[in-house]
């Protein structure tokens, strides 16, 4: 059972223009996006820059006001600040950001940074607080003396761990992680990803991984949502998406991954060219005349594709085969 349901989320930003600077149109940054989150599972939200994936994440934690749709937390609406407060929602749903350094106050010690959410929600004595902070540091694998240092004294990977310590301080149910490792070097990235998996088991956490890196998402996620121009183009289990991609955008995305495969690089390149051609040829089936992505249609219990009609999907397969 899902504990968090995002139904038909819309976030539209007005475009002003014309002589009197009136609202001319809206940028549909997020348009009819629905996501379900179950306990202890990891979800991926993939898209290129400008696809609206970060806006979805922000709307989920309440940093962006939705224009439409609803966010249900255990079946109750949490669309407003007041409702979120009543449900302790902001305690249970945390976010970690790509650029950790700018999300940590440079003038505060690590102690105060990690303790901030605790002080907001829990009434602990000084001793209890210190004990809890040391536990948290231990979980993220940092030495106790880190408490009295400032953010700039740490490396990128360590700062990301501090960010994680802060977000798990209140034992949340869901962490929305917006590109948590894309600024990190490979070896540090591996460390953080392993660590996120490890604490997932300890806390039975759920993650929503917002990323453009398909390798990371493939490694981490059980279920994947793919976004393009503010809408979902395909959703499915990691196997559905990677072994049986249906939407041309998904195919293009997967074909573009630079695989560690020197032997077959020519085949990979040819395949990429083929997919590009297919994309140009079949655009009509997957986007309406205004370039808008169609609504999702189910093609199996777990797998959904945004396409005009399911028959068209068969034609696509035939045209390629």
């Amino acid at each position: 059972m899902s504990f968090l349901e995002i139904n038909n989320l819309k976030v539209h930003f007005p475009i002003r223009g014309g002589f009197f600077n009136t609202i001319q149109d809206y940028v549909k940054a997020v348009d009819d996006v629905s996501i379900k989150i179950e306990e202890g599972r990891t979800y991926g939200l993939i898209g290129e820059s400008g696809s609206g994936k970060t806006t979805v994440g922000k709307a989920i934690v309440g940093l962006e006001q939705p224009t439409g749709g609803e966010i249900l937390y255990y079946g109750k609406r949490v669309n407003s600040k007041k409702l979120r407060k009543k449900m302790d929602y902001n305690k249970e749903v945390q976010m970690i950001f790509q650029d950790v350094l700018s999300s940590l106050d440079p003038k505060k010690r690590i102690r105060d940074i990690i303790a901030e959410p605790i002080r907001n929600y829990e009434n602990l004595s000084k001793e209890e607080e210190i004990k809890k902070l040391l536990d948290l540091l231990n979980i993220v694998g940092m030495p106790p003396d880190a408490l009295y240092k400032y953010p700039h004294e740490f490396s990128g990977g360590q700062r990301q761990r501090i960010g994680i310590a802060r977000s798990v301080a209140l034992s949340p149910k869901l962490i929305v992680a917006d590109e948590p490792v894309s600024a990190l070097d490979l070896s540090v990235q591996a460390q953080i990803l392993n660590f996120l998996k490890q604490i997932q088991e300890e806390f039975s956490l759920s993650y929503l991984f917002i990323s453009h890196d398909l390798g990371v998402v493939k490694h981490m996620c059980d279920y994947i949502y793919i976004m393009y121009r503010g809408r979902l183009v395909e959703t499915g289990t990691t196997q559905d998406i990677f072994n049986n991609p249906q939407h041309i955008y998904t195919k293009k995305l997967i074909a573009a991954i630079p695989e560690i495969d020197v032997e077959n690089r020519d085949t990979i390149r040819l395949n990429r060219m083929k997919v590009e051609k297919e994309y140009a040829k079949n655009e009509k089936i997957f986007y309406d005349k205004d370039g808008k992505v169609f609504d999702l249609l189910p093609i199996s219990e777990t797998h959904f594709v945004a396409v005009k009609s399911k028959e068209d999907l068969k034609n696509v397969e035939n045209s390629v085969a």
Partner: protein, 329 residues
């Protein structure tokens, strides 16, 4: 097997000044580039890979940098060339493509003007001829409406278009060498694929040698003919791409490959290298620089002064520790 050698770097040291002390960011690198070859230099941030690129044509701020060694381009050591001498090579013989396509273009100048600029200093073309050349270059890098694009400003283009413009600038004088410093890091994966395909297509057209600097091993596997893996200012492994990915030898290369999250079994843990990359100031200047990251390997396995050993025709590895390297349980 290779064509003529077009660039040779011998024992390059590039040092940066901090508080009146110089520290080598590139510490004794020797490399050659051949015609028509794509040589990838790969490593994590701070390993010195971009520093090599900048040292080749002296793009560093000379007040804070000290460069020594030899850089042989067309039989001449250009390392001590003056700015004026270097300007004869820059843009004309060696073209550059940088990481951030928006920041790398002057926000106040039209695209056409920015491409034209290298033609002004390196060719005898008149204004009309230069304009025609600009248009044909934009066509060559796959821009649909070159006349329009030439009159636009950088902020009016998409990221992929801007990177195409940077490539057009690098190509403008048909250079013998193109140095691409993380050319696709700032781009989306689908755009990255297009730019990389464009780059390798163009290489065949103009018969240039390309030095591709990247941290992305996937890009290396798809693009490179030869690969130099760098760690802490040194090349630790140098091999053809095929050889490197099939038979990686140096512990650092092997560890990196194990930490890529691409495996088909999502349950597996990624490999984590112990410790941290030392900062430039605290870098040990003797012994195997990777030794502190694999403390469970006996000290005796390392060389005292590790050098690159040739293990097969196209495969070089630094230090001897690879022979008995194993992953920690």
């Amino acid at each position: 097997m290779y064509e003529e050698k077009i660039l040779e770097i011998k024992n390059l040291h590039t040092a940066f000044r901090f508080e009146d002390q110089y520290y080598d960011a590139v510490d004794g690198v020797s490399l050659s580039l051949y015609k028509n070859e794509l040589l990838a230099i790969v490593g994590e941030s701070g390993c010195g890979k971009s520093t090599i690129a900048n040292s080749i044509v002296g793009l560093h701020d000379k007040n804070y940098t000290r460069v020594s060694g030899e850089i042989i381009y067309s039989d001449e050591n250009v390392i001590n060339y003056s700015e004026d001498q270097l300007n004869e090579i820059r843009g004309k013989e060696i073209g550059f493509i940088f990481q951030d396509p928006l920041a790398s273009l002057n926000p106040l100048q039209r695209i056409g003007m920015q491409i034209e600029e290298s033609l002004i200093y390196h060719t005898d073309l008149n204004k009309n001829q230069r304009w025609e050349k600009v248009i044909s270059l934009l066509e060559q890098v796959g821009i649909d409406n070159p006349e329009r694009t030439a009159r636009q400003f950088p902020h009016q283009l998409s990221g992929g278009m801007r990177q195409r413009v940077l490539i057009a600038i690098a190509l403008s004088c048909k250079p013998n060498i193109i140095i691409a410093d993380e050319p696709t890091t700032a781009l989306d994966v689908t755009i990255q694929a297009q730019i990389l395909d464009l780059l390798s297509g163009l290489q065949k057209e103009i018969n240039a040698g390309i030095i591709l600097i990247t941290h992305d091993l996937g890009v290396v596997a798809q693009m490179a003919d030869r690969v130099a893996v760098m760690y802490a200012g040194e090349i630790v492994e140098l091999a053809t791409a095929k050889e490197l990915f099939e038979n990686p030898l140096h512990p650092y290369t092997r560890s990196l490959l194990q930490s890529i999250p691409q495996s088909d079994s999502p349950e597996s843990e990624l490999h984590v290298i112990r410790g941290m990359v030392p900062s430039l100031k605290n870098l040990p200047r003797t012994g195997c620089r990777f030794a502190p990251r694999i403390p469970y390997i006996d000290e005796a396995e390392h060389e005292e002064n590790p050098v690159l050993h040739q293990v097969s025709e196209n495969h070089f590895v630094r230090c001897t520790c690879w022979k008995n390297f194993r992953f920690e349980d």
